[in-house]
């Protein structure tokens, strides 16, 4: 069965980006939360904002929701300003709620979702929203009797009750167990498959990799990578070489062509290389004794560490590609 978008509204047919963030700068005192960030999200995309804590993910989302005003730059959501888009009921959101459930007590789940639906002009039917959020059996449950994962799903139901074109989720699976996260993303993907646009913040690489069409990596308020997971994986620290070598000198290993980082643990050597072929050639040419060489593709975690770690100076994916094409041996890519 193919799911269809319930109600296309007039004016929805335009092909412009759903979210447009242009040169957005935002500071908290001397701390720069967003440093001239550019970001566009097209209709129907599922985009992950990936980054460590303090990278600016939540600030970006709260600006997109109109909870905060960007200090510099322009922001548009669904072709208007964030507050108008929210007031028009075309945006849904799940924010971080800290330790609480995020729900009012003394009501049944069904009543809460029904009330939320009445806040929107084009809301979905309550039964539909409950089904989408996997709450079919819980409509009569009091909100204070929900488990953490169930409360999270109710908050997802509240975010989608208005049948929104665009949904923002700020670390939606924080404090959920593996099974809960899997169920949650299954529902979210079902909703996105109806043609909705979803922007979510996470610091879980596997989530970004599994759920998003596109990953935007933030580091200290700047976009350091933007592309499909496979692109990000392919462009950063492309290969990892492992081999056994007695008495290897890390300094010498780092001088090998293409090597970006070298780790020596006893006789085990791990090299991160931007050009595995060049590295192997230069390793052979160096005359170092080695055995059991193994070359693997970098995983997203390596890419992420490279992009957001303090040692990495990689600014953008493009620079990383340029650096690789130059076959650079330098450890820092400017």
């Amino acid at each position: 069965m193919k799911l269809r978008y319930e109600s296309l509204r007039p004016g929805d047919a335009d092909g412009g980006p759903v979210v447009r963030f242009s040169r957005v700068l935002h500071r908290y005192g001397s701390l720069v939360a967003l440093d001239h960030v550019d970001l566009e999200v097209a209709r129907g995309e599922t985009v992950a904002l990936l980054g460590p804590n303090g990278a600016g993910k939540s600030t970006a989302i709260s600006i997109l929701l109109g909870l905060q005003q960007a200090q510099e730059g322009t922001v548009s959501v669904l072709g208007t300003d964030p507050r108008s888009a929210m007031a028009a009921g075309r945006v849904g959101a799940m924010l971080q709620v800290g330790g609480g459930s995020g729900l009012p007590y003394g009501v049944k789940v069904g009543e809460l979702v029904a009330m939320a639906s009445r806040l929107y002009r084009h809301s979905a039917r309550v039964e539909r929203t409950l089904a989408r959020a996997g709450l079919n059996g819980l409509a009569d449950r009091q909100t204070q009797r929900l488990s953490g994962g169930q409360a999270q799903r109710v908050r997802f139901a509240l975010a989608i009750a208005g049948n929104p074109d665009l949904v923002f989720l700020d670390e939606p699976t924080v404090a959920m167990d593996v099974e809960g996260r899997r169920t949650f993303w299954g529902m979210m993907r079902g909703f996105a498959a109806e043609g909705r646009t979803v922007v979510f913040a996470t610091h879980h690489l596997d989530e970004a990799d599994a759920v998003a069409d596109r990953i935007v990596v933030l580091r200290k308020g700047a976009v350091v990578a933007d592309g499909a997971a496979s692109t990000i994986k392919a462009t950063v620290a492309t290969r990892r070489l492992r081999f056994v070598s007695k008495g290897a000198d890390p300094a010498r290993l780092r001088e090998l062509d293409g090597v970006d980082a070298a780790t020596v643990r006893g006789s085990e050597v791990v090299l991160d290389s931007l050009d595995a072929d060049a590295t192997v050639r230069s390793l052979v040419a160096s005359g170092m004794a080695f055995s059991d060489i193994e070359v693997t593709g970098a995983d997203l975690e390596q890419a992420f560490v490279r992009l957001t770690g303090d040692l990495a100076e990689v600014k953008t994916v493009d620079d990383a590609i340029a650096g690789r094409l130059r076959g650079t041996r330098s450890r820092t890519l400017a």
Binding site: A87, L95, G100, L103, P104, Y105, R118, L119
Partner: protein, 249 residues
């Protein structure tokens, strides 16, 4: 604005569904009224009326104060800490609607509380007033509930979910006792009479005491209540804005 209506109905329903809330808001004033009637002569006169009528006004005011402070304080503090207020901030509801709806829902609840105490006065206190006097009395007591409703909301913003309950309980009894709702102010030491003159509980009940005694409600009392409501309202507005800013930093 249908959204606001749905939200208001939802808030009223939640208050009515809370057995503890209903028990204390109705239980305290009705039980106190019933207890203290048995110990006194029904015909004893206080401030130009019978004790039963006078004390009915006191307990109706007390009930309204209990309803107002408990609706705002404890629940609001809990909702702030649970993140529900944040969730509401990402709906089409305007930013002011959370506080406005809290105030409106509590006012809706306070009216039947006042009426139930009046009914208790009528039935077991044998208080006899003309229909017009009943209506004016109810209106006056209901209107004078507003500053307490706003105070309840302020407590909810100032206190944490742990401190709100003791704070509400303390405020409820201190304001009521020193405002002369349990013991008539004229029976209090002079110092306490001056204290009472600063309290909105005293001025709220004074409006009602005047009505049952057949006098016109005092303009000064009403004025003081308006000033209280305005000042507390400004404080709520300030806290609400501070909270919105802080939640984002």
């Amino acid at each position: 604005m249908t959204g606001l209506g749905a939200y208001l109905r939802f808030e009223v329903l939640r208050l009515l569904r809370n057995p503890r809330y209903v028990a204390i808001t109705l239980g305290f004033p009705v039980v106190f009224y019933s207890l203290f009637l048995h110990n006194l002569q029904p015909a004893e006169h206080v401030a130009g009326t019978t004790w039963n009528a006078y004390f009915m006004v006191s307990m109706a005011s007390f009930g309204a104060v209990v309803a107002a402070l408990n609706a705002g304080g404890t629940r609001l503090a809990a909702e702030r800490s649970s993140g529900w207020t944040r969730q509401l901030s990402v709906t089409p509801l305007p930013a002011w609607s959370y506080v406005a709806t809290k105030i409106a829902a509590t006012m809706v609840i306070a009216l039947p509380v006042i009426c139930v105490v009046e009914l208790t006065g009528l039935l077991i206190g044998a208080v006899r007033l003309g229909l017009e006097t009943w209506i004016v009395l109810t209106a006056v007591l209901w209107a004078s509930t507003l500053p307490f409703v706003v105070l309840g909301v302020l407590v909810g913003f100032v206190a944490s979910s742990e401190t709100a309950y003791p704070l509400v309980t303390a405020l409820m009894f201190l304001l009521s006792f020193f405002g002369g709702l349990f013991t008539p102010v004229r029976d209090m030491p002079v110092v306490l009479r001056h204290v009472a003159d600063f309290l909105p509980t005293y001025h709220g009940a004074s409006l009602g005491w005047a009505v049952v005694a057949g006098r016109a409600p005092g303009v000064r009392d009403a004025g003081i209540l308006v000033v209280y409501a305005l000042c507390l309202g400004l404080a709520v507005n300030w806290r609400h804005r501070a909270e919105e800013t802080r939640a984002l930093a």
